[in-house]
Assembly symmetry: C2
Homo-oligomer: 466 residues x 2
């Protein structure tokens, strides 16, 4: 946790921005697996709750009066049973002290508290519910049906929070550096540990163990696959065969829950094949172009298109694409090979604030989301600002099902050399991803750099295999 | 998965037992962490869905007509987007074939299907919702409020399922053996790997990696602590100091999701102290007594009391307790040191069928749950039957907060020698747990035996440390 004053100041700014009514911040609960008391091992607090309250335990709700600025913490006091079963715990007063809240109340009184507010005809602001438990709680608190709850979210509150959380403070950036460092350790460990013949699951277990060993956890389900062409592949049953590329997309949370998110793709064997090298280098180039050009005031949509053009130029050089690169990108031809967005905001969430609404976070009245295949998956289109933390993650994939579909339709054949794709059918996919903070003059890599060029990666892999 | 016919036969028996109306079996979905698409890494299917349908993927619902015996599978077909993002998947027809269901329908039609059933005035049977998503789905399907949904669960369906799932078939017992074997590996690895000076989290990461490496996962959140006196301690921030006892309560799921659940307690140093040996041996004795005496027709409540008496006799011998052992147990004096139950049913859930209602699983009209501290936590009171799978897990704990409370009240001082407890204040806790199946003549240990006597444990630990 940061100092109590940090949370006090954040809440003050939030109350000023929202100005009227009551703000309800729901903390998260444990999530049950196969019966109520068998939880998923990791408790994950809601990120806005972490940002404004900082308390990392289940069963809490905070209510902030936007007019008076007063904040109330609702929760349960420890009991004899909880002491025996889960150990001694701090009471509500002690919890409140950590976050500069002096008014603490039993959670059973929350309903009455909200009822009084509503009868005084004051608006109750709440965020979009992304867990079913939120819908049930809000429905019960506000005496509204599920549909009304989903429709009644507060745009004012959403915008206020995005405004605050999009610009990271110095102490937040320190936490993002820590998260990136821990994420880097996962990647280095994988590069040093992967051996031909292993199962993906064996390597996955060792990669996951890195953050768990320091009492943290991955910031999202680990992608570790020799089928990198499946963008979010969460299976781990394949064998690491010689000649294949292994794609690892993973990151860790710092103890503060700020997230890291990195991707590396490396050869299972000690060295890349010539074909792999050629495609890999295009992805490096796309990333380098973006990093060289991005900074405050630069449109992230433009950066996505710059990466896409770099990919088209590269694929033209190896004979897979043809025609004018800019026209190819405008037509969406690159999306056969690069069907996702260049990156996203990063913070307390790995896709930062995605629960508040992707389009509110990444777009605005001027810059609208495209509906074109590929570009529609770009999470961030807005101009960058100093203090934004983002990922840069271009990739090239050969997806047999998608190639077959486009090819059979003769889709955009003026830009795509379909016959040349036969030689790449079992190539897989390559993605490279790093985390950056936008500075006043450009950008800075978060955390320790991890081997990324062909030479750097081959050096580690050749040592590991030998 | 078992053969399609296994599921067909199980559903036939279920339909016969319930005899009237429609049975809705809700499959589980992914559970969101901090935004909708950031799931907990492990998808856990509902166990009754696994038992009757066997399909281990999210987004499915099965409806069984208790009168005709017909079964319908509702789900979504794969899309182009799902192929690109999460890979090629089987369609509903192929899924249905794996479980002998020929009638497959888009999930969007489920509401209409249920509406027709209700308008025909047929009862809709469903199980108690243990995830908030279940409440929301049932509420929407049956057009009822949350409270009505919780009140409207089908006792007939609950009893039918408990009747079937309580007696394990030969093929289920094979899966329980596999789960126990994998759980045993976790324990052996911990005994061989733990070193003084390590953090609990470092060892935890390595223990968790054992099932993850074979594409499985722990069956419940791992308890790994030098504070074994906290029964369900899920913190891992302490250091393994010389002289302390480390309590590890963990298990793995087999790929079929049958669960293992074992506990071992071992010295961080190579050897137990004399004080630790004395208490440890009492727990071994309690376990041995139960295993020697349990079998079909034997009351598990009696086994709990037998273990409790053995603990009292042992604690009398070291001067901690006094008076008549049977009277002490009836008065609940042992519960200061053994405040939990002897064990529970085991199966597709680690506390098998706990979501159906603990009292339905473990008690009946004749054998009611006690309200006495300690005994009230016994999950299983009924007579054992051949085919039951259960845990046996006695323990002795020195819980400072509880000792202080009882001592200050002078509670049951005719049985407890409070002054003698000073020497045990920082002892921690010991629990030993193994999994058994009840046979026609007695019981059989599930899985490979793991070091358990003082000599066996010291042998492994002394080797590990040296």
């Amino acid at each position: 946790m940061f100092s109590p004053n940090t949370y006090y100041e954040r809440r003050k700014d939030l109350a000023d921005f929202v100005s009227k009514g009551l703000i309800v911040l729901l903390g998260n609960d444990y999530s049950s697996m196969n019966y109520k008391d068998n939880y998923y091992p990791v408790f994950r607090q809601d990120s806005s709750f972490l940002y404004y309250i900082g308390l990392d335990k289940p069963g809490l709700v905070a209510v902030l009066d936007a007019e008076s600025g007063e904040c109330f913490l609702f929760g349960n006091e420890p009991t004899l049973d909880s002491m025996v079963w889960t150990g001694p715990e701090e009471g509500l007063i002690e919890l409140g002290q950590k976050t500069a809240i002096s008014q603490v109340l039993p959670i059973d009184l929350l309903g009455e508290f909200i009822k009084m507010t509503k009868s005084a005809d004051r608006e109750v602001h709440y965020l979009p519910p992304y867990r079913p438990e939120h819908v049930i709680k809000l429905s019960s608190l506000l005496k509204k049906g599920q549909r009304e709850i989903n429709a009644g979210v507060s745009l004012t509150l959403i915008q206020a929070i995005i405004h605050q959380r999009s610009i990271k403070s110095k102490e937040e950036i320190q936490e993002l550096d820590k998260a990136a460092d821990l994420s880097a350790q996962m990647h280095l460990h994988a590069m040093r540990t992967a051996r031909p013949g292993m199962l993906e699951s064996e390597l996955m277990a060792q990669v996951q163990a890195i953050p768990v060993a320091v009492d943290s956890h991955p910031s999202f389900p680990i992608i570790l696959t020799v089928h990198g062409e499946i963008l979010h592949n969460h299976h781990y049953h394949n064998r690491l065969d010689e000649g294949k590329l292994l794609l690892l997309d993973c990151g860790a949370e710092a103890s503060s829950h700020y997230a890291g998110d990195m991707t590396r793709t490396f050869p299972v064997s000690g060295f890349f094949t010539q074909q792999q090298k050629e495609i890999y280098q295009i992805v490096v180039d796309a990333s380098d172009q973006v990093v060289f050009n991005m900074g405050p005031g630069v449109s992230y949509m433009d950066m996505h298109k710059l990466a896409s053009r770099t990919i088209v130029e590269g694929l033209k050089a190896v004979g897979i694409m043809k025609g004018d690169a800019e026209e190819a990108v405008e037509a969406g031809a690159h999306a056969l090979f690069f069907p996702h967005g260049l990156g996203h905001m990063l913070g307390l969430d790995v896709h930062d604030m995605e629960n508040l609404g992707e389009d509110f976070v990444g777009y605005n009245d001027e810059i609208k989301r495209s509906s074109q295949f590929g570009l529609k998956s770009l999470r961030l289109g807005k101009d960058l600002q100093a203090g934004n933390a983002i990922t840069v993650e271009p990739g090239i994939y050969f997806i047999p099902g998608l190639i077959d579909k486009w090819s059979s339709e003769g889709k955009l054949q003026e830009f795509i050399n379909y016959p040349a794709l036969h030689a790449y059918r079992s190539f897989g996919g390559i993605r490279l991803e790093d985390d950056y903070v936008i500075t006043d003059s450009g950008s800075r890599l978060l955390g320790t750099p991890v081997a990324r060029t062909i030479e750097e990666v081959e050096e580690i892999r050749a040592q590991a295999i030998s």
